[in-house]
């Protein structure tokens, strides 16, 4: 290839890398103009940062009839006279904890005989509710790939903590978390209702929604995250009865609710549009990129079908429920983009610069090839980590580990090729022949290393939650590293070599003069 052509191509490649670098890491600034995007943010500032770097949300679930010491003291401070005494009589502190429990017999918490002992019914109901909440967040953690914690506070309250997740176009990570916190506190049974009436198929004793629904799952169709519900024969007869009613009253809906009274929560309002010819419901929840919203509801429906409905007595007249969770009850733990994460990025950049400089010192012109591959690797992985969606690319400690591994291997395999080329030259071959021979001798070894790593990373996809995410990030780093070593490195080397004046000096070699000259 001619020198001029090489320079032109190299310039184009350099421009592409610079543009990628701009998108990946150019510092944030405000864009002019009132409409559209107001602020430019580089990819590195759009990462979804996991709990490893701090950042998350938590809230408390208090059973109805249980309040905190703070709430009790605030109410006591605000009341006086008989009202104050009545209030004090209605709650009793639970041991040396920070909880006050209701003494009202209708709440079923303390025994009627004495207000020292918590009823067995309340204890059993609380434990069932704890298992229900835990099961829901465990299942959700598999979908989100991020961390969580469910703990029991002072025996009769629950604290749930979730790590920060993904912001999407229309929903911030707090919206997803808020949805999970409020929905997963619902402990009542599932019902199908038409208007204010439970459907007749559920009126029979012993029949539950589990007898009507065969399966609930999330499907992506037409860029929408949909809940797909398949029904049993009994469920299909319910749908047919609903369709008859809907033909007479077009505004009628079939609602899937948790609970039936004033406090019921309507999860889905099914109309005839979402029922297909096979009597399945395909209910669009949110856009595809907000799939987590649909996954959260899917986990809730499956959980409520199996274990919904908790009571404090055998005849199921005293239901157990948590107080409703509102936005004000959610605590935000540290800002998502704290200084810590930025400093780690700066530190990583220093390591990258050092590896690039070392390569140039050791390998001369070939070190520039290494610089190109390093920058390409850096910017492609940076962009992939920011923009591959689906709620799975949360950046954690493992992300940095796998990134540095890919960086080191890219450098090492470039050096592997360099050493093979230098060895060929030392045998007396021409530079062009040595480059060809050197790459030929090393290409299969390089392919083998990346192939084994790729198989290993694919195996790690079996892992759950954060480990699954780690595997996906490893795949990105491995594939990017392979393309940099096997394709870009050879192309850039050919272009640089073609443009180089002294091909021996390019490889940091001294050409031996021919004695005959």
């Amino acid at each position: 290839m001619g020198k001029k052509k090489s320079v032109v191509l190299l310039t184009l490649i350099t421009i592409v890398i610079v543009v990628m670098g701009f998108f990946a890491a150019f510092p944030a600034f405000t864009l002019p103009g009132k409409n559209g995007i107001e602020k430019w943010n580089p990819a590195v500032l759009q990462y979804d940062i996991g709990s490893d770097f701090g950042g998350g949300y938590y809230t408390y679930y208090y059973p109805q009839g249980v309040i905190t010491e703070t709430e009790y003291n605030n109410n006591v401070a605000a009341l006086e006279g008989d009202e104050l005494q009545e209030y004090k009589d209605s709650y009793k502190k639970y041991g040396e904890t920070s909880l006050y429990l209701s003494t009202d017999p209708d709440d079923g918490i303390y025994t009627v005989e004495n207000k020292e002992t918590v009823t067995e019914g309340f204890k059993a109901a609380f434990n069932k509710a704890l298992a229900l909440v835990t099961e829901r967040f465990e299942a959700r953690a598999v979908k989100t790939g991020s961390d969580y914690r469910v703990s029991v506070v002072d025996d009769y309250a629950i604290r749930v903590q979730l790590s920060s997740g993904e912001d999407t176009k229309k929903l911030a990570s707090k919206d997803y978390v808020s949805q999970a916190f409020s929905l997963y506190s619902l402990t009542d049974k599932l019902y199908f209702m038409q208007g204010e009436e439970v459907v007749e198929q559920l009126v029979d004793e012993g029949t539950s929604v589990k007898d009507l629904i065969k399966n609930v799952s999330v499907k992506i169709k037409y860029e929408t995250a949909m809940l797909q519900i398949t029904f049993t024969e009994k469920g299909k007869s319910m749908l047919r009865a609903y369709k008859v009613k809907a033909a007479e009253d077009t505004s009628a809906t079939l609602d899937l609710t948790i609970g039936t009274g004033e406090d019921k929560a309507t999860l889905l309002s099914i109309n005839t549009q979402v029922i297909n010819t096979k009597d399945e419901v395909q209910y669009g929840v949110r856009y595809e990129e907000e799939r987590l919203y649909a996954d959260t509801i899917c986990v809730l429906i499956n959980s409520a079908m199996e274990n919904g409905g908790i009571y404090m007595n055998d005849n199921e007249t005293t239901p157990f429920a948590f107080s409703a969770i509102t936005g004000n009850d959610i605590r935000i733990v540290q800002p998502v983009y704290g200084d810590v994460f930025v400093w780690v990025l700066v530190g990583a950049l220093v390591v990258i610069v050092l590896t690039a400089v070392l390569a140039i010192v050791k390998m001369g012109g070939f070190g520039i090839v290494n610089l190109y591959t390093t920058l390409t690797y850096l910017f492609i992985t940076a962009l992939c980590f920011a923009f591959i969606h689906g709620g799975v690319f949360v950046v954690s400690f493992g992300t940095f580990l796998v990134f540095f591994a890919g960086l080191a291997l890219t450098n090492v395999l470039n050096a592997y090729a360099y050493n093979a080329i230098v060895k060929e030259i030392s045998l007396g071959k021409t530079v062009a022949s040595s480059v060809k021979g050197g790459y030929k001798k090393t290409v299969l070894g390089t392919v083998d290393v990346y192939a084994v790593l790729l198989l290993g990373a694919l195996a790690l996809l079996i892992g759950a939650a954060g480990l699954n995410t780690f595997a996906l990030q490893a795949i990105v780093c491995i594939v990017t590293g392979a393309l940099c070593n096997l394709v870009e490195g050879r192309v850039v080397n050919a272009l640089l070599l073609s443009a180089s004046k002294d091909k021996y000096k390019y490889f940091r070699l001294v050409r031996e003069d021919d004695d005959d000259e």
Binding site: D52, F53, S151, N328, L401, V449, V452, I462, G463
Partner: protein, 322 residues
């Protein structure tokens, strides 16, 4: 350096015994004490300071700093809320005497309200202490699926390398991958590093890294397979510089994350460095030693070829006998 490795490659039994002892010790310690879970994953006590929004937004750093000096908390969470009240939660070990701490904090806040002036004069606060029992911190099937993933990683590495190289190379890579993951987990148990879910990254990473680093040496050895490979030649063929350079970049990277990333990051960095060191051990010491041993067990291939001179000599002898 090849002199050092020419000694190490002859001692397969030693390295196998060292690995076995460490693993056995780790199993015993794990059975008795389990992993040393970080506070995020185990029971704890908490002291919660609730402050009205004005004080929280303007005095947070001062309050947090002052109380951090008075309390021996393991870590602190700032729980900002959208209503009138926000909170700071100090988290302690489950055996801490938080009742005494509560009195200290109440006294501090009362003093602030009485004497600090400014926004403190109308400040509202409350202090409460609680015990927390961790009910669940891992996604469903986390540990089992991680173990299966590690096993499948080793099997796939074994199959690929066996097909591309030789069966003995496949065995070396597969065994090294499995042992490196087990030994990393074992060292995490033995050194009592605080463990969070991110420890799984370091443990499975050991498997990935070991397969890559071992293959770098096996590449060199494959080129010399037809020659009479002895321990010295094997030692000379190891990809020492490549393995050490990779390890150096990873150790420096882990230190960067650990030093700059906060308390939890330090423990992850230590686990990651252990994973790297274990991978280097298996790539440069155990795997080559296993290679030499497996090569020694190979039966030499008997050839039926008889040289022309030898054939003529045998013919002459046979004729003479007749």
């Amino acid at each position: 350096m090849s002199k050092i490795f020419s000694n190490t490659v002859k001692k397969t039994t030693l390295w196998a015994v060292v690995s076995a002892i460490l693993l056995a010790a780790a199993i015993v310690v794990c059975a008795l004490f389990g992993f040393n879970k970080s506070l995020v994953m185990k029971d704890s006590k908490t002291l919660t300071v609730s402050l009205n929004a004005y004080v929280y937004n303007t005095q947070l750093e001062e309050v947090k700093g002052d109380l951090e000096k008075k309390l021996d908390a393991d870590y602190i969470m700032e729980g900002a809320m959208t209503g009138d009240v926000s909170e700071i939660v100090f988290v302690f070990d489950k055996d801490a005497d938080v009742a005494a701490y509560k009195a200290t904090v109440e006294s501090y806040l009362a003093d602030k309200v009485a004497n600090a002036g400014g926004g403190w004069t109308t400040a509202k606060y409350s202090v409460s202490v609680s015990t927390e029992k961790a009910a669940a911190v891992l996604a469903k099937g986390y540990v089992v699926r991680a173990a299966i993933a590690g096993a499948v990683l080793a099997v796939l590495a074994f199959v690929y390398v066996s097909l591309r190289y030789q069966l003995k190379s496949g065995i070396i890579v597969g065994v090294s991958a499995i042992l490196s993951m087990l030994l990393t987990a074992g060292l995490v148990v033995l050194t009592r590093i605080y463990v969070t879910t991110s420890a799984a990254y370091a443990i499975t990473f050991a498997g990935l890294l070991t397969t890559a680093l071992t293959l770098l040496s096996l590449n060199n050895l494959r080129a010399k397979e037809q020659t009479e490979l002895n321990a010295e030649l094997v030692a000379q063929s190891l990809a020492v510089k490549e393995v050490l350079y990779t390890a150096l970049v990873l150790v420096v990277g882990a230190l960067v994350v650990g030093i700059l990333g906060g308390t939890a990051a330090i423990w992850f960095a230590v686990a990651a460095i252990l994973a790297v060191l274990v991978s280097v051990f298996y790539a440069l010491i155990f795997a080559p030693a296993m290679y030499v041993s497996l090569k020694a067990w190979e039966k030499p291939v008997k050839s039926n070829y008889v040289g022309a001179k030898k054939a003529k000599k045998e013919e002459t002898e046979a004729t003479t006998e007749e």
